[in-house]
């Protein structure tokens, strides 16, 4: 298991567009990716759930990557957050 904390920089938070791209990215990974905010966990491949978290700019989320391919998947997801959120 690998995980990282990330503070959202994007002014609009995790809005529809990056949420969609995030879900696409998570679906491309074999590992299970979980996003946690304030003790609430959400599977990163579930778009409506990710959007429903309504993560705003400045808030911090915990991203957990678990699976056989977690090294590569961790890098993928981590880069995604840095480049888009």
């Amino acid at each position: 298991m690998k995980e990282f904390e990330y503070q959202i920089k994007d002014k609009l938070g995790i809005h529809a567009r990056p949420a969609g791209m995030l879900v696409k990215c998570a679906k491309a990974c074999t590992s299970k990716i979980t996003i946690t905010k304030d003790e609430k966990n959400v599977d990163a491949t579930r778009l409506l759930a990710v959007m429903g978290m309504a993560v705003k700019q400045g808030e911090t989320v915990n991203v957990n990557v678990t699976g056989d391919n977690e090294e590569q998947d961790f890098d993928k997801i981590h880069s995604f957050f840095q480049e888009n959120l």
Binding site: G13, A16, G20, L48, G52
Partner: protein, 537 residues
């Protein structure tokens, strides 16, 4: 003639005939079914058909409103495929043995309510996205066609609310405005209207029986006139003409460089006084902000703004401008502005009194708070500092010393900042006369022609009796501008104008011939000045 008020979602003026946009009756019946498997298959086919439709809508939208706004249809597709959504529909079919239409409608309602319950304005609006895709599925399952009503030219669409697919499907060549009874400035009607360049007003309580009536939509202030009288129509036709000209200018010169026919380039910036003006800067395509008046931070509350408050405001500005230069002027108030908490004495001559830089240099803590916030914000974009009301060289040297001290402090605390440009406003006759000395201490001059003219001509602009003595093109002022530019260039720094004279189209050519490097004007004047400059040899 009746008049209604709502929230203006996008500006512009439209005069046309109302078309009431009716949603098709979407009564979903809950029907018991025998075969859940075949119902789930119906759902899958409808899902596939919906994806197909969304693909087509996406293609159409990309052409009409650009990729960023068309992206919502990509999101709709992903919502349709979302595991939670699909599982919900299938579970309802399985557990309740009901038809797919009902399962979809119930799922749509549930998710829509979930979004509506979030405490985020943007996410609340996404509730209508979920409703939209669910309605699309229900329409497909019910065998209804996906059409848009045929409308005639000059139509003002009035509806309770408009979903993204509905606004995109409308024949835009026939629509001149949107009016919705619900919706917010975050809703799709607003977002798409902005890109389509059509006036839109949301949240306006217009009645139901308006189909076919003439109306005027004023996107500037959010008013709708139903069956307007002759005079109102005439007034608005004029307003409309002005808007059209503005829009044409926008189309022609937006995104173009500010350069004369012979290739001389000028930096064309905008003057603003608050964070809310930022959109005007971007809309009018200024290449930067030549004067950001910081007083609003001191005026908005009953006490001095903290370093954090200031830092966040400056950071927001430089980030929004994304690398374009932002020149922020330090505190420029005097006894004429009623800011009680400053405790300024009443003065006979506030223009000649304890103001601006003079307050800053005698109340160092106040000044250092602002400078520190500015330096911290500099790490996030392209920021420059400018001080007003300079009269002597020592004032400038003192400011530089303070900045130096603060930079050391920040470095020791490991707080990032950039080595930014530091300039002065030339707005007193004294600063013009010692421009040569000042040019050796700063990175740029910005000529504040309003005050410079007042002080030089010894005329109070507020006094109409003096109008006959006032000449904004007075040779003294023009000579001074030339002197300042020459002193600047002698010492290899740039010189610009941020006062009103910069926007005077009669002087643009003269300024260029004098060698001005930058003009900073109010946002609506950016494109007219650009046009003027591009037309010069």
């Amino acid at each position: 003639m009746k008049c209604y008020n709502g929230k203006a979602a996008f500006q512009g003026v439209a005069i046309g005939r109302i078309v009431e946009f009716k949603k098709e009756g979407k009564l979903v019946h809950r029907v018991h079914i025998e075969n859940p498997e075949s119902e789930k298959k119906r759902f899958s086919s409808a899902q596939a058909e919906a994806m197909h439709q969304l693909d087509a809508l996406y293609e159409k939208a990309v052409k009409e409103v650009g990729e960023t706004n068309a992206a919502i249809f990509e999101v709709h597709k992903m919502m349709l495929e979302d595991d939670d959504y699909v599982e919900s529909v299938e579970n309802i079919i399985d557990e309740q043995s009901v038809n797919a239409e009902y399962a979809v409608a119930a799922t749509g309602d549930n998710f829509s309510q979930m979004f509506a319950a979030t405490n985020d304005a943007y996410m609340k609006e996404r509730a209508s996205d979920v409703k939209d895709i669910s309605e699309r599925l229900v329409r497909i399952l019910s065998g209804k066609s996906d059409d848009s009503a045929g409308i005639s030219a000059g139509s003002i669409i009035v509806a309770d609310d408009l979903a993204p697919s509905e606004t995109v499907q409308l024949d835009k060549s026939k629509v001149v405005a949107f009016v919705t009874r619900e919706g917010s400035t975050n809703s799709h009607t607003a977002i798409l209207a902005r890109t389509m360049n059509i006036p839109a007003i949301v949240n306006v309580p217009v009645p139901n029986n308006l189909d076919g009536k003439t109306a005027i939509v004023n996107g500037m202030d959010g008013t709708v006139f139903i069956e307007p009288d002759e005079k109102t129509i005439a007034d608005y036709k004029d307003l409309q003409q002005q808007e059209v000209e503005k829009q044409n200018l926008l189309q022609e010169y937006k995104g173009k460089p500010t350069v004369t026919k012979s290739g001389k380039r000028i930096n064309l910036y905008a003057n603003i006084g608050g964070v809310s003006d930022l959109s005007a800067v971007l809309q009018n395509d200024a290449s930067g902000i030549g004067l950001f008046r910081s007083e609003f931070l001191y005026l908005q509350e009953d006490n001095y703004p903290s370093e954090e408050t200031q830092f966040h405001a400056y950071k927001q500005v430089v980030e929004t401008m994304a690398g374009k230069k932002v020149i922020i002027r330090t505190l420029d108030i005097g006894a004429d502005k009623k800011i009680d908490y400053f405790g300024l004495d009443k003065e006979e001559n506030p223009a000649l009194g304890y103001r601006a830089l003079r307050i800053c240099l005698t109340r160092e803590e106040l000044f250092k708070t602002q400078l520190r916030a500015l330096l911290r914000a500099s790490a996030y974009g392209n920021l420059a500092i400018m001080v007003p009301m300079v009269v002597s060289l020592w004032e400038v040297q003192k400011v530089k010393q303070l900045i130096c001290e603060l930079k050391t402090e920040l470095k020791e605390a490991e707080i990032p900042f950039k080595d930014i440009e530091f300039g002065v406003m030339i707005e007193t006759p004294a600063s013009v006369m010692i421009a040569d000395d000042l040019a050796q201490e700063v990175d740029f001059f910005s000529i504040g022609t309003n005050d410079l003219t007042q002080y030089t001509l010894a005329i109070d602009r507020q006094n109409p009796k003096l109008d006959v003595f006032y000449n904004p093109h007075h040779p003294a002022i023009l000579k001074m501008i030339q002197m300042v530019i020459d002193a600047a260039h002698k010492h290899h720094i740039w010189a610009g104008i941020c006062g009103e004279l910069g926007a005077d189209l009669e002087l643009t050519q003269s300024f260029l011939e004098m060698g001005i490097d930058e003009l900073s004007v109010s946002p609506p004047m950016v494109l007219p000045i650009r046009r003027k400059i591009c037309e010069l040899d």
